[in-house]
């Protein structure tokens, strides 16, 4: 009986299956590490893609605003050109009139032709002015400007979302959510060194800078498997604005020939007074 008891005690101390338990533990650890590594990778990539999408959206919105500026610049330049031509024709006509006083009957047809030319140029100035007013009225409409900016920004966003576009379909509609495309808000952030909300340029979404704040969702792998929650929210913000091309590029012979103030776009720092990116 004593021998049997001793044998039973020995059996209790056996290490049968110990390696299996260790193995199971290691497998669980490796699986957790695997999912963790994939998730960390996905989160890092997601963060980069989110920033790229915010940059793309902000640049796109600013590029649309630049085209508003550039259309106006072109129309204003055309107006001043026509004014210059009208003045030139009038000076010519005045010269002919002075000569007419000293030598009566001298080339009256040429005098009339100069006056006609001046009238034609003045008429064009009037038409251009009316056109600019009509253009401004359209683009500063409370709906047209913001809608146009949002459409442009949405394309910039979708194009740069990368795998975030398929990770969560709702990410493609980020800009339609309130507050993602900050156009008219009075916020305290400094954009490009100036307090954004105090600029007064962003009244209707057709001018000024654009600030994009997005929170795309990323469906991660491991967190879902372990029931922690399959979706993580990432955050990114970016600002861009139309800037005068000469300040960025220096001498621009192609534009200088026309004397046009041309605007191009750049990303702008947020919350600092640093230079443009």
């Amino acid at each position: 009986m004593r021998a049997v008891m001793r044998c039973a005690q020995a059996l209790r101390r056996e290490e049968d299956g110990q390696a299996l338990l260790w193995g199971a533990g290691v497998v669980v650890l490796v699986v957790v590490l695997f999912y963790g590594a994939v998730d960390i990778g996905l989160l890092v990539l997601g963060k980069i893609q989110a920033q790229a999408a915010a940059d793309g959206a902000a640049l796109s919105a600013a590029a649309l605003k630049a085209s508003v500026h550039n259309t106006r610049s072109l129309a204003y330049r055309a107006q001043s050109g026509q004014v210059m031509l009208a003045r030139q024709a009038l000076i010519e006509a005045t010269g002919l009139a002075v000569r007419e006083l000293s030598q009566p009957g001298h080339k009256p047809a040429q005098f009339r032709e100069c006056l006609g030319r001046a009238r034609g140029h003045i008429k064009k100035v009037t038409l251009l002015r009316e056109g600019v007013l009509e253009f401004n009225q359209w683009v500063t409409d409370a709906k047209v400007g913001p809608d146009a900016v949002e459409r442009a920004a949405s394309i910039g966003l979708k194009g740069n979302l990368g795998f975030l576009a398929v990770s969560d379909r709702g990410n493609q509609r980020l800009l339609t959510q309130g507050g993602a495309l900050v156009e008219n808000a009075r916020i305290s952030s400094a954009v490009g060194g100036v307090v954004y909300g105090a600029e007064g340029l962003n009244r209707n979404g057709h001018a000024g800078k654009s600030l994009v704040r997005i929170s795309p969702r990323l469906n991660v792998l491991g967190a879902g498997v372990f029931g922690i929650g399959s979706s993580q929210e990432l955050e990114a913000e970016s600002a861009a604005g139309p800037l005068e091309a000469h300040t960025l590029w220096g001498a621009l012979p192609a534009l200088d020939a026309y004397g046009i103030n041309w605007y191009t776009v750049r990303l702008l720092p947020i919350g600092t007074t640093g230079r443009t990116l």
């Binding site: 001793r6 044998c7 059996l11 049968d16 390696a19 299996l20 193995g23 290691v26 497998v27 490796v30 590490l33 695997f34 590594a37 994939v38 990778g41 996905l42 990539l45 980069i48 893609q49 790229a52 640049l59 796109s60 590029a63 649309l64 085209s67 550039n70 259309t71 072109l74 129309a75 055309a78 026509q82 064009k124 038409l127 009316e130 056109g131 009509e134 253009f135 359209w138 459409r151 442009a152 949405s154 394309i155 910039g156 979708k158 194009g159 740069n160 990368g162 139309p242 091309a245 590029w249 621009l252 012979p253 192609a254 534009l255 026309y258 046009i260 041309w262 605007y263 191009t264 776009v265």
Partner: protein
């Protein structure tokens, strides 16, 4: 007692057998982790390279149109040059077109070619130009897109990883037949001024 000692002897090497069983599983998991990691890194490298090439191409187009004249007809050349500078070509990246239709954008958004698309929003009814009636007016954005893909080592297309990036830029002053410029989006200005414009921009 001796019987029990025999039992202990019979189990020697059990850990080794169990370890041998576990090794293939661990190797598979390790290879999986490394494989997924490499794929993610490659995808990210391609994505970053695509964004870089698209951005450099967009900047190149602006610089070219502002400084040298002659618009974006050489977008393919600009993109190829940017790809070469990025170093992605050495790792086997190849440039492919961008699927613009997936970006939507509604009316006014159209693909110009494999690398360019434009959004032009027109004023309904255009702008009055006196007795000449009404002419079109609008605003817009140009987009430059670049898609890259890479074949795996060995020449076999084991895994294709594609990436695309879209970078916007402002419309040039005058465009080409395919690509709109500010003047093309606003023919009302040309209709009034009625002067021949230099198309270098």
């Amino acid at each position: 007692m001796n019987g029990c000692n025999d039992c202990y002897d019979a189990e020697s090497g059990q850990a080794m057998v169990e370890f041998a069983l576990m090794v293939p599983l661990l190797v598979v998991l390790l290879v999986g982790v490394v494989g997924v990691g490499v794929a993610l890194i490659q995808a990210q490298q391609l994505s970053v390279a695509a964004r870089h090439v698209a951005r450099q191409t967009a900047l190149g187009m602006v610089e070219q149109s502002l400084k040298k004249g002659g618009a974006a007809s050489s977008v393919q050349v600009l993109a190829s040059r940017s790809l070469a500078q990025s170093g992605a070509r050495e790792s086997g990246a190849r440039m492919v077109g961008v699927r613009w239709q997936s970006l939507g954008g509604g009316g006014g958004f159209r693909a110009i070619d494999g690398h360019r698309a434009a959004l032009v929003i027109s004023k309904p009814g255009g702008i009055s130009v006196g007795r000449g009636g009404r002419r079109g007016a609008g605003i817009g954005v140009l987009y430059v897109g670049v898609g890259l893909e890479r074949e795996q080592a060995g020449g076999t297309r084991l895994l294709n990883i594609g990436a695309s990036a879209v970078m916007p830029l402002e419309l040039p002053l005058t465009g080409t037949r395919e690509m709109p410029g500010v003047m093309d989006a606003n023919p009302w200005i040309r209709a009034i001024v009625n002067d021949k414009l230099d198309t270098r921009l």
